[in-house]
Symmetry: C2
Subunit: 465 residues, 2 copies
């Protein structure tokens, strides 16, 4: 009999059992061997059916022990009720978690609005309208407002002794758009790219949506294994390496200076673009981190992404990309011009005026202290457990390992029921393996919510073990 | 000898002659037959080399009479000086023309900032900050501000007797982002899509960048040939038809009611999404145009894109997409969440408050009169020529045919030298054939600039003939 027909039979059979709730959430499916015997088909046919169901998120794999029925809480994000047209869509995993409103918000690596300079910025906005009365009836250039690019490059050149020209900057709608533009310009289906493991989940989703083949390198508290990176660059010739070397998301680790220099040399040698996402540089607690890789780059191999706005005014959605190679900038400009033809001028002008004011520095200094206190409260609560983490010197997150190989994906559903959110490690894993790691952000919840929420959460985990 | 090697030889030989200026701008290249004989290679090898050079915009084809050396003015947009990494980039043709500053701006289908309500909007902005003090420290949801979506759907439901729910709306960064999101969600390499001929040049570039195979249908002053559309839908099963049926860009034509209904039925029958870009609906001169196709859609086959902001405050970059099918909206949301994770909240709130005010209607009424006057001035100037156009009843553009099969691509370079810009027809042609048509926008230049600029331009064209 036709193999496709048999596959369809097995597939329908399993799906039907799940939909009738005969096979229940988180219950183990029959082994491939047993179902193949029962349905009198080849084992590969069952494997193929299971894999299709896994792709469709109807079932999942656990610790090599077999296939399990996916829980409906996760499933409901997925179901496309009788789509009339099919779409080519990659999920944004993080965005889906954030759609669930909770009382104890530990999944968003965003800063509590109460810690942001709302009132000062309102004043600047009025100033902006006096200075540029036609700001709302004018488009920005695709590359971004020249005055803002000048101001940002001046800041960089002063602070890091670089020689960046305003033409080497491109203003984007947040760092996420920057990553998205880079993916569109430099990655096509089946191209190999390199990511840290773990990595920023939205970046994983963006590169996956472009069809990239992802190779990953582990990041450790002391940085990378550079021999491994060189081996991969030599063997796979990745088009780019997306990395976040300063207060890395989700781990909080920082790659030391010496490795930064060497990595830029490797990138030059193997013609691999380094995409340095530097969202957390200024959120340090004790001392300023080592200079960005971008500052060691002499041949345009680093595209540097900086989202100052995360800790100034996330609502403006302004980030900047920098690169010294005119052909790279030209490509990024072409993609940006198709994507939205330039970021709104108003937002750029508002940001410019706050960025150039002395208020910014005062605000950032206060913010560092507030966040350090929140981090310490979170660590204090966690100190009663035997969970593992490396205390970060900056950034917004703790990267925590639960004991007993507890899957944090499973835990999330129970946790959301108790109105506590976090990011399960699997979402941050380019290989998407089940994981006992999780990311807890201490930046959004206030001190009281952190204490209360963590106590509830610890209790929940203990009851699950 | 290896064929690739021979191709490279021919390619290098031709390119070298051009770069040394031995073969000059707009000079005819040797015929394929002659060069093949001279270099002792197969004619297909020469053809391949010429085609590569054409793709790289080093040469162009004219009226089937052969290959010509591209002029440097056009070439300079292109050259990637020794790129260290290759990029996958589609040009944005329109964006490149706009990069040249001119005194007589007829290429931008934008509204003169002096016709926009700058002062009123500034007042609304202050109100917005009083109402939402934390607007700059908060992200919008991916789908867009709920209050704005409610207000837009109320407006639609009242005006067109539709029953659109706020959840069927998605706020984007201008209509260009809307098209870009749709392309990403529904078009993959080699998928067939349908475009009007001519069409909006940025849309052509966006779908081309996705690797679409473009099939086109002509648009006439009285609409489409629906038999041709049905034939194409039947034969090619296009995934979508991007169209602009009201004061069409660039032609200004409007598709009549009866055709709108029939087209929605065809789309349902052949499962082809209609992407209705409706940027110009409210810019009518004598009477309101027929209702959008979206209002005839009962099964979610139409994705409606509306950019109110074009004539309110282009600087805000706000547009809205509507669709009644939840699976379509779900796919668009997933793509939007990867692209920029939601448009800035500030811009949405500013727009909301202006949109809900009675001022908007007053402004639009004045704007219609001002634009009609500008259109009439432009037509008055053109009346001394034997150029052809159909006078539009709304929108921002005249679509004009020059006599004697004059190529408007060639004309553009000379025109820019005299500080006059326009959009050559070839850029609006999905098939990119040389054309004697051009688009003249009467919305950006003021009345004096229109008169002066048109006189100079007519003189230039006559001197070229």
């Amino acid at each position: 009999m036709n193999r496709d027909y048999l596959f369809k039979q097995v597939y329908d059979y399993v799906l039907h059992r799940i939909e009738l709730n005969e096979w229940k959430e988180n219950e183990k499916l029959p082994s491939i061997r047993n179902l193949a015997a029962e349905m009198k088909v080849h084992r590969l046919t069952v494997l193929k059916a299971y894999q299709h169901l896994k792709q469709e998120n109807k079932v999942y794999v656990k610790d090599k022990s077999g296939y399990y029925v996916q829980s409906r809480e996760i499933n409901k994000f997925e179901s496309l009720e009788n789509p009339i047209v099919s779409a080519y869509v990659q999920k944004n995993h993080l965005s889906e978690i954030h759609q669930v409103p909770v009382s104890y918000q530990f999944s968003q690596a965003l800063i509590d609005p109460n810690l942001l300079p709302n009132r000062f910025i309102s004043d600047y906005v009025k100033k902006v309208f006096d200075l540029y009365p036609k700001v709302l009836s004018t488009y920005s250039t695709v590359q971004g407002d020249h005055e803002l690019r000048q101001s940002l490059s001046d800041y960089f050149n002063q602070h890091f002794k670089t020689i960046t020209h305003p033409d080497q900057l491109l203003i984007t709608a947040g760092s996420q758009q920057a990553i998205h533009l880079i993916a569109q310009a430099f990655v096509k289906s089946r191209d190999i790219i390199l990511l840290e493991r773990p990595s920023y989940s939205s970046a994983i989703d963006i590169f996956r949506a472009q069809g990239a083949n992802i190779v990953s390198v582990d990041i450790y508290p002391y940085g990378y294994d550079l021999d491994q990176i060189e081996f991969i660059m030599k063997k796979h010739k990745p088009r780019l390496f997306y990395l976040n070397p300063t207060f890395h998301n989700p781990t909080g680790y920082t790659v030391p200076s010496a490795q930064r220099k060497q990595l830029v040399q490797l990138a030059e040698h193997y013609r691999c673009l380094l995409i340095e996402d530097d969202a957390y540089y200024d959120i340090f607690f004790d001392q300023e981190p080592p200079p960005p890789m971008y500052t060691y780059d002499t041949s345009g191999m680093v595209i540097y992404i900086k989202s100052f706005c995360k800790y100034v005014s996330p609502g403006l959605r302004i980030a900047v990309m920098m690169n010294g190679q005119s052909s790279v900038m030209k490509s990024l400009l072409a993609v940006k011009s198709l994507a939205d033809n330039g970021s709104p001028l108003l937002n750029q002008k508002i940001f410019l005026h706050y960025f150039s004011s002395p208020r910014l520095q005062q605000h950032v200094e206060k913010l560092r202290i507030a966040l350090q206190i929140r981090k310490e409260i979170m660590e204090e609560e966690l100190s009663v457990t035997d969970w593992q983490w490396t205390s970060p010197n900056g950034g917004l997150n703790l990267w925590v390992q639960l004991p007993d190989r507890l899957s944090t994906e499973d835990l999330l559903v129970k946790s959301l029921e108790q109105s506590i959110s976090f990011v399960p490690g699997q979402i941050c894993d380019p290989l998407k393996e089940p994981s006992s790691w999780l990311r807890l952000s201490y930046s959004y919840a206030n001190e009281e919510q952190i204490s209360e929420g963590l106590r509830k959460f610890i209790k929940l985990v203990r009851s699950t073990q």
